[in-house]
Amino acid sequence: MTNDLDIFVGNTTLIDEEVYQLWLDGYSVSDAVSLRLRSGILEQTGATVDVLQSDTMDHYRTFHMLERLLHTPSKLIHQLHFQIPPSRQAMLIERYYAFDEAFVREVLGKKLSKGTKKDLDDVSSKTGITLKSCRRQFDNFKRVFKVVEEMRGSLVENIQQHFLLSDRLARDYAAIVFFANSRFETGKKKLQFLTFEDFAYCAEQMIQNWTLGAVDSNVDDMDVDLDKEFLQELKELKVLIADKDLLDLHKSLVCTSLRGKISVYNEMEANFKNLSRALVNMASKLIHTKDVRDFFIDLVEKFIEPCKSDKWTLNDVRLFLTQYTTSAHTLDAFRHQALWDRYMSTIKSCLLKMYHD
């Protein structure tokens, strides 16, 4: 005797969070059943494997039907087909749009194109995340990207409004969209020690300070694209390293104020010019798309690695960057104070966030 048809429909749609997670993780019904078996659910409830199988199938069917709505979460809220309490709706959406750290690190900054999607099986085998789950996460990235790409207003707010995500998750998506749009390189081996959270923080800083939205809140793509004018102007900062007097003066100002405060004073003094050159050169090159992509690699190679090899502590870095930024203001010959602040405040935040093992 076989059950051709076996369904359970509640007036309030029944949602099992554990099964939902298994479904999101891309497990097949049979895998999900065996995973649930291992959790000892049968012992707790006295049920049989058949019951578990039928229950899992049922939930999977429900989730399959809900998936269409989850693609446009506002539909899920307004639809009449499934009666789901608002708190559960929020849970469904939040979990559906949640992503794995391992996955996002693989895809972050890549073009969200068909080509990338084709490579997802590599990502899957590398991360151990099922291909199905990879695809869902990738499609989520792409869907959010497509919707907010050309939209006016704050990136985070747009994402929140259209996808009804929590503030935290919306910020993460803003970072993903921002990275995908500028195609920042994040996958190099040197960058592997950085977490998604590090990048997300940097993205937020860059969105806040370096995009069009930072100066004008009423333009298209304001949070997605970097402010071209600003990038152009950054070339002006070159004077800090090109003018030898200025560079020396800057160095002496920093050294004076840091003496006795920083633990790696000698190393700092010896390296000052290299570090300053690195930071200013990066600024002047950011107008080129290629250099924007390499932004994080540059930060790591040209600043973080030298400091690390000299065993700077985080506090040393903080003291240095603070002093490095403020001292420039006292250089009378340096006239780009606002520009300098706009550039350095973000660089400083990023570097401090990224300066860890």
Partner: protein, 1040 residues
Amino acid sequence: MPGKLKVKIVAGRHLPVMDRASDLTDAFVEVKFGNTTFKTDVYPKSLNPQWNSEWFKFEVDDEDLQDEPLQITVLDHDTYSANDAIGKVYIDIDPLLYSEAATVISGWFPIYDTIHGIRGEINVVVKVDLFNDLNRFRQSSCGVKFFCTTSIPKCYRAVVIHGFVEELVVNEDPEYQWIDRIRTPRASNEARQRLISLMSGELQRKIGLKVLEMRGNAVVGYLQCFDLEGESGLVVRAIGTVCTLDKISNTAFLPACNSPSKEMKESPLVHPPSHGCRSTHNSPIHTASGSRLTQNFSLSVPTLIYTGMGSGSAGKEGGPFKALLRQQTQTALEQREFPFFTLTAFPPGFLVHVGGVVSARSVKLLDRIHNPDEPETRDAWWAEIRQEIKSHAKALGCHAVVGYSESTSICEEVCILSASGTAAVLNPRFLQDGTMEGCLEQRLEETSPPGCGFCHIPYDELNMPFPAHLIYCYNCRKQKVPDVLFTTIDLPAEAMVIGKGCLIQARLCRLKKKAQAEANATSISNLLPFMEYEVHTQLMNKLKLKGMNALFGLRIQITVGENMLMGLASATGVYLTALPTPGGIQIAGKTPNDGAYEQHVSHMQKKINDTIAKNKELYEINPPEIPEEIIGSPFPEPRQRSRLLRSQSESSDEVMELDLSHGKKDAFVLEIDDTDAMEDVHSLLTDVPPPPGFYSCNTEIMPGINNWTSDIQMFTSVRVSRLSNINLTNQTLNKNFNDLCENLLKSLYFKLRSMIPCCLCHVNFTVALPEDEVIQVTVTAVAITFDKHQALQTSRVPVEKTLQRASTDNEEQLQFPLELCSDPLVSQPFSPAKEVLENASSHTGVPAAQRATSVDYSSFADRCNSWIELIKLKAQTIRRGSNKTTASLDKASPLAEGHLRHRSVPSCTNSTVSVVKMTPLSFIPGAKITKYLGIINMFFIRETTSLREEGGVSGFLHAFIAEVFAMVRAHVAALGGNAVVSYIMKQCVFMENPNKNQAQCLINVSGDAVIVVRESELEMVPVQPSTAVSQPASAGDVTT
């Protein structure tokens, strides 16, 4: 032109993409009522069109208002080709026709297409202006209220309960018309949906006319069903109970529409006999000859009456009053052709005595209904069955049948018509306008003590038509009661019960040869009595196994298929304090000398005894031991316990009796020598009790639980199982069917585990046999979480109430078990089983083993006719022994209550879609119904030609049922309601053709749309009218 219907189309949302090129839709709407159609402008290139139309006005007769549904079609405009239909919304405007209900229908409705399902939503506003109708010869019955609820609706008071009303209309089924060959499935489905909508409107209007004729203003317990007879047509029939209801809050208020009775009195012409309810049934000769003279083949099946036991209530004190009462009731009821009531719960004092379950079945061969306007054959069929029920009730000394329902099962051209109810004696006070109220009321109360009165047999002990086993009531000790009581009604609120109840099911399959026409009908009617008998036996055994003595809400469904018959009986078992403690079950073998065999028997016996003991613990059944002397009567003569009273309507009034008692013993004896009985014993033991924290019942209220939370979950679960075995035998079939049902229940328990502690209420199983070797089981029920910790305080209230009512010598006994309910670990002073055993054996004086093996057919064989012989041959016998294995010394095992999670539900209010609760019960726990908005009666068809793509049969049906729920909720919300009570899925016909990748499903649901207000938001108002409660209470005092 007594009405103006106004419709406004506001907007649409989430429409499907109809133009692939632009990914958009150019939508417009057609609004149709009767033959008039209006159109909105096209709203170009949008999936969320804002039509904001003018008011479309239809000027129509109120007759049409009642019959016709409002039809809204959403289309995609196409300049070059035909416009594509997106989907439709049918709106039943009936709720707008009574002044007390909804005034406007306004809201978002899912746009439904029979091929694609829900495709977006549309916002519609509908209003009706009714002009006062001065025409007395009118055909409409606007203003009559309809309720699916089978009790007096919560915010009303029953002034008069008039009685039974029925009607049926027939038509050709569009699916079987010649045109169906050339039209699309969509057109065919829509024609069908529209026709059924129209037919149910017409039916409701006709019933309404009868109600007005009977001077009522409402139909309660309205049950409308469809018979899809295939080639021979489509029958829509309905039954209900006519009442005159008064709104409790506002008694003076009587809307104009509600008092047509005055007009009626003045003008007798108002109800011409042509549509009077009596005309078709008044002449039995006509019906009888009608069915015989035409080619109709008809077989009336001998039916059984399940009684607990007969009667004999005419105790010395109550006698004269009772006689008077009976006389009065009789006259009140005999004016009615069918003294039937579809209600299952009654106002206090209405139900005087309950006789037992009466049922009648008849097998008919369908043929084309030639003249749809005169559906005489169908009418005659039902009239016949109802007559039979009436005579059964009479045989039980009852004038009325309550908890009455009718059903059909159709397979090809064979149709089984079934009717069942509970024979009862009613209080005439409610049946007529106050004529004899004064004189009878007091006497009545004297004769029927509350809490046990309804158990007292309605029969005259000296004049019983059958031998019965009677005992003085364990509660009042003044009247006789049967030892077991079966009923189709809900447990009366005043009933005194020990412990909790539980769902009891009897399941049965019987193979039958494939046959044609008469031969088929004959073989079915030959099988039916056996099935009834075995169902009864199973129920009895399972009841005893649970240690209980009464069944409520009994519903027996017999389903006919090509090559088998299925029987499924569901009921809720309880332990009534008024009835005696049930005896145990004794197993016996025929070959007592075989040592190994005896060991096997004793092993089984032990298992059964253990199960009984366990069940008693589980359901907290620990009745007080009453020393025999107190009962005040000699130890009752042990007589047979299960009685079958059958009658063959073909042999007119002759009532055949069948005494199935075998020997004079107290316990059931099961012989396990033949495989059938063996199987029975096994099936008894395979019924697994629900996991800890779960209870289930098929009635409204679960005895012993009263602290419901507002956490409810209504659900429908469907399973279709294919029997793969080629060699089907009755045994394998039974086992398969049993497993199917048990697994389904297990699945439900697992799914709803987060609601523990919880009770599945109103569990309603439906069995269908859509194809050869395919069984479909549909379950609808509601799971309600109850608060375990509050139980203690709340249960006090009923305890005190019952104490007030109960006689003083009952006081301790009552308090005692109820206290145990709340604390299972209190040591239970069971009287030792040994004592009972000794007691029992000393009484009979025969060793148990010996007794058990002896078979006494004496009383049996005498009364047998041929088919009874067959039963005998099957050697599946039930006898009674005196071995009472009632009590056990098993320690109360600490229940796994630690596992029970207590879950509080977060209340969320910031939803844009209003929440609509649905329940098959007549109430919403923790809330009060403030307004009834009208009946919901919806019929949907869904079809697919891409079954695999939609997730196979499961995916298809899952989506469809979810859609049906959604559409019900949307309609209720648009009426301004927030809940559906008395929800029922009356039909779920599923057909598939996997080879063609096709499937089709028809679903019919109904319920009452209501507004509920959470009790916490209300002031604490006693729900029960205080007068109603105080009357029986004082009556109890009189009795003691």
